[in-house]
């Protein structure tokens, strides 16, 4: 029996065990959602890099497909010091999950049943509903049933299918109409790092009309095993709402990290997303935004840093389904060692999406002879009154700049790190929330060196 067949059997056994135990007592709609998702996963299997399979042309997930992962059990011995992960700001809404399980002692108080059930009941009159997905399901919150799986379809993607099949807990964020949340919402996913453990974090974010919020999802690890994080996020953004998303990925050097984020935007809404990939052995991050009504605006930014044999695949896609919408994608990669960075950008202007403005940029710095960059900025245009551009550049750090720094007494490594950080600063600057930006800056500095 082949390794991947082994793995498939293991997934099936686990799913049936999960249905009997962990998932038992779930409402029927969720049981159905999980079961059909697992069916979709079994039919599709893990994607392969075979000829003609465009989305997986550059990323081979065989190491995941051929491994046997088991749903992570709570690690009772793990003691977690929150300090390194905390945001530098006085107030924060934080939900922490350790190996996929909610950790109350590391979280701020989650939304109560009443709050979950009614988005109108804000804590202190100005807060959002930041609660556990498991609670929202248990308390039969209509929004959970209505929206879970509405954007991330199990049919689209085997990893999304797997996440949905094993969906157990995660974040349920609801920013009611008109609510402006000044403090960041922090969804913290910590892996204790046990090898062969799998977690399937899920986040459902609803930002209703004219609301405003910042959500940071950070993925951290305590130890360096070959574990597997498979995250799915859905964000439904109402008319005039302003949602700022940030993902900070600092998985261990042996970890597999797959993440998919799907966003749907209504009239005049604004979404800004910044993803930062600093860890993992293999990471693949897909983000897509559907601009379904006129005047929607989205900015998808990302940066990725690779060394050793890391493989990072970032994909950003914007669907201009309505006229007068604006999108920009800016992804920057710094590749050292024998790492490989992949970017695939896409913008689709559907028929009738006049006055579309779509910009894409991908820039990669290659620091070492063994690094590889693949870039694929795509455009599909079916409307004539549009302004769409894309650009891509791969190259080395500017030799003059490097020399200039060295002439001021800065060592070669530090000079490179400085230039790399300068190169990335455009993306970091796109993070609007000061505390989140500071957190990301610190993480980048810690990873690249070159001084704080």
């Amino acid at each position: 029996m082949s390794a991947s067949a082994n793995s498939a059997t293991a997934w099936a056994e686990q799913f049936h065990a999960f249905e009997r135990n962990g998932a038992a007592g779930a409402p029927q709609w969720l049981a159905n959602l999980r079961r059909s998702a697992f069916g979709a996963f079994e039919r599709a299997g893990f994607p392969t890099a075979r000829r003609g399979n465009e989305p997986w042309k550059y990323t081979n997930v065989r190491p995941i497909a051929e491994s046997v992962f088991t749903i992570a059990e709570p690690n009772a011995e793990a003691s977690v010091d929150l300090a390194p992960y905390e945001l530098p700001c006085p107030r924060v809404h934080r939900l922490t999950f350790v190996d996929g399980r909610y950790a109350a002692h590391l979280s701020t108080e989650p939304a109560s049943e009443a709050e979950l059930r009614s988005g109108a009941l804000w804590r202190g009159g100005d807060g959002p509903v930041v609660g556990r997905l498991a609670d929202a399901v248990e308390y039969r919150v209509p929004l959970a049933q209505e929206r879970l799986g509405s954007l991330a379809s199990a049919e689209d993607d085997a990893f999304t299918a797997l996440n949905t099949a094993f969906l157990r807990d995660g974040a349920f964020v609801h920013v009611p109409a008109g609510a402006v949340v000044p403090e960041p919402i922090h969804l913290l996913f910590i892996a204790t790092g046990r090898s062969a453990a799998a977690t399937h974090p899920r986040a459902l974010i609803s930002a209703d009309a004219d609301s405003s919020a910042t959500v940071l999802m950070s993925f951290e690890s305590l130890d360096g095993g070959a574990y597997f994080t498979n995250a799915v996020t859905e964000a439904i953004v109402g008319p005039g709402a302003n949602l700022r998303l940030c993902a900070l990925q600092r998985e261990s050097a042996g970890a597999f990290h797959i993440a998919s984020t799907r966003i749907r935007q209504a009239r005049g809404s604004r979404v800004s997303s910044v993803v930062v990939d600093l860890g993992g052995r293999l990471s693949r991050r897909e983000i897509s935004a559907a601009l379904e009504e006129p005047g929607a605006e989205v900015s998808l930014c990302g940066l990725y840093y690779g060394d050793g044999e890391r493989h990072m695949d970032n994909r950003a896609f914007v669907d201009h389904a309505a006229p007068e919408a604006t999108s920009s994608e800016i992804y920057k990669g710094v590749l050292d060692g024998a790492s490989r960075g992949v970017f695939c950008g896409g913008a689709l202007a559907r028929p009738g999406a006049q006055k579309t403005v779509a910009r894409q940029t991908n820039k990669t710095l290659l620091l070492s002879p063994g690094a590889e960059a693949d870039s694929q900025p795509k455009l599909e245009i079916f409307a004539d009154d549009v302004s769409c551009t894309h650009g891509s550049a791969v190259g080395q750090p500017d030799a003059d700049a490097l020399f200039y720094l060295k002439s001021r007494g800065i060592g070669a490594d530090a000079a490179l790190a400085l230039l790399a950080r300068g190169f990335m600063s455009e993306v970091i600057a796109a993070i609007e929330d000061g505390a989140v930006r500071q957190r990301v800056e610190d993480a980048v500095a810690a990873r690249l060196g070159g001084g704080a």
Partner: protein, 486 residues
């Protein structure tokens, strides 16, 4: 959109094809269908040596495997009903078409055909600095200026003749750039190719004439499967031009050509195409399927290969003239204008594979979509690990005329060497109202303004063509785009 623009767009979309007539000439052809006997028949008909027949048969078997496994290329952004490979006539030739050396021997109907197309086969036109190989359906009917070229040691003939006269050269290079196993249509071509042009420029020779091939599909149900092979030996230079047209027919006809270029040390080949195969009618009925594999190998140090194409015809175009940059310091270029209107679909671009050190490539692609046309640029720039100091610059711009068409860009960049500098820029725009008004304020009509702006959009590519062809290209774009102001 204003009514004036609407009208311009409609006229543009409905521009009719001017080369749609047929020539009444007695043809020798095989019955439709593809099998080993046909392959053997074609090879025998041409009196080919055993090795070539063997090569064809290997290609045929490979093709049949691909066909049986339904491994047709499916990645291109084009759609068409499945091609019935058994309904195609794989050989059609005007009777008595042994290669001729004097115009007197050419069927007068055929001569008239080329005259009508404006191709200089007549004696006095030879003075215009162009040597022409005329390919009518499956075979070469006439190659001009052979004597002039012979003085320089330049070989310019049909591939069939070269197989007889220069078998060593053909054997050495045929399939060396595009092996029969390269892709589905390359396999088909290798099995059934009937003719094509062959060029060899000896070391140090700058070919004094522009070499030109004119392809004409005339017969019904026939496909055209020509194969062109051009070798520029050390320090040699050649400029080669090809033009294509076909009659209007209701059924789709298949054109699956292969072009191989080889440039040795310090050699340079410029290859230009003006492709105006019949595009089908405004409803998408009929037209040529232009599924072509073109590739050049910069085998030698400091060699250069440059592709320039103006693609205005064909129902579907699927072609990626590419360069393998193997020699150190070699240069590859791709300049393209692709116009789609009516129901035309084009998926075209290039592959630049950087292998040697200090190689450079440049890609300029201009796509114009009008009517219900769909235009895709697809390109790969690949820098292999040992390709130190590779440089690429790519610019691909799309122009949309009307709101029923599509423009797509699918670039791939794969850089495996840190000293690489790869830059890609692309934009998609339409003709702006400000530009049109500015032209109108200076006395041009809307239609003329549009034509002027489109001509400006493609200028960077068209100016790369040799003079005779740039005039032809401008005229072709003008005919295709309403308005005559240039």
């Amino acid at each position: 959109m204003t009514t004036a623009t609407n009208r311009a767009v409609r006229e543009l979309a409905e521009q009719s094809y001017q080369y749609g007539w047929t020539t009444d000439v007695e043809e020798e052809s095989v019955p439709p269908g593809l099998n080993e006997d046909i392959v053997r028949w074609i090879s025998a008909r041409k009196g080919e040596p055993e090795w070539l027949l063997e090569w064809r048969l290997r290609a045929f078997r490979h093709f049949m495997t691909l066909l049986d496994d339904a491994r047709l290329p499916a990645w291109a952004n084009v759609s068409h009903p499945p091609v019935d490979f058994q309904a195609i006539r794989y050989y059609a030739a005007p009777k008595a078409a042994a290669e001729l050396s004097s115009l007197d021997e050419v069927d007068s109907e055929i001569l008239r055909t080329y005259e009508k197309l404006g191709i200089p086969l007549e004696e006095q036109k030879r003075l215009s600095g162009v040597a022409v190989d005329a390919i009518f359906d499956s075979v070469s009917v006439m190659t001009t200026a052979k004597e002039t070229l012979a003085k320089y040691g330049v070989i310019f003939s049909s591939v069939s003749a070269a197989v007889q006269e220069h078998p060593d050269l053909v054997r050495k290079y045929l399939g060396s750039v595009v092996p029969y196993s390269d892709n589905f249509y390359a396999a088909l071509n290798a099995a059934v190719f009937s003719d094509g042009s062959f060029v060899y420029i000896p070391p140090g020779v700058r070919c004094p004439l522009e070499l030109s091939t004119y392809f004409r599909i005339n017969a019904q149900e026939s496909g055209q499967f020509e194969r062109t092979l051009i070798i520029a030996d050390k320090g040699a230079y050649a400029s080669y031009l090809e033009g294509c047209s076909a009659p209007m027919r209701d059924e789709n006809q298949l054109h699956a050509a292969v072009v191989e270029l080889v440039a040795l040390d310090d050699a340079e080949i410029k290859y230009a195409t003006i492709q105006n195969w019949y595009p089908g009618d405004e409803n998408g009925k009929g037209g040529i399927y232009n599924f072509v594999t073109k590739r050049g190998k910069c085998a030698g140090a400091r060699s250069r290969i440059s592709w320039t194409q103006v693609e205005t015809g064909s129902a579907i175009t699927w072609k990626y003239p590419s360069v393998i940059l193997q020699g150190d310091g070699s240069t590859g270029e791709f300049y393209s204008v692709a116009l789609t209107k009516g129901r035309q679909q084009a998926d075209t671009g290039t592959k630049m594979t950087h292998i040697g050190k200090n190689t450079s490539s440049r890609i300029i692609s201009k796509g114009i979509s009008a009517g219900r046309g769909n235009n895709t640029y697809r390109g790969l720039v690949k820098v292999l690990p040992n390709a130190e100091n590779a440089v690429n610059y790519t610019q691909c711009d799309s122009l949309l005329i009307g709101d029923q068409c599509g423009a797509h860009t699918v670039p791939y960049i794969e850089a495996q060497n840190r000293s690489a500098s790869v830059e890609h820029e692309a934009s998609t725009t339409r003709v702006s109202e400000d530009q049109i008004f500015y032209c109108q304020q200076r006395g041009l009509t809307r239609e003329a303004a549009q034509s002027v702006i489109v001509n400006g959009f493609v200028r960077e590519v068209v100016k790369r063509l040799p003079l005779e062809f740039s005039v032809e290209a401008d005229r072709l774009l003008e005919v295709n785009l309403e308005g005559t102001v240039g």
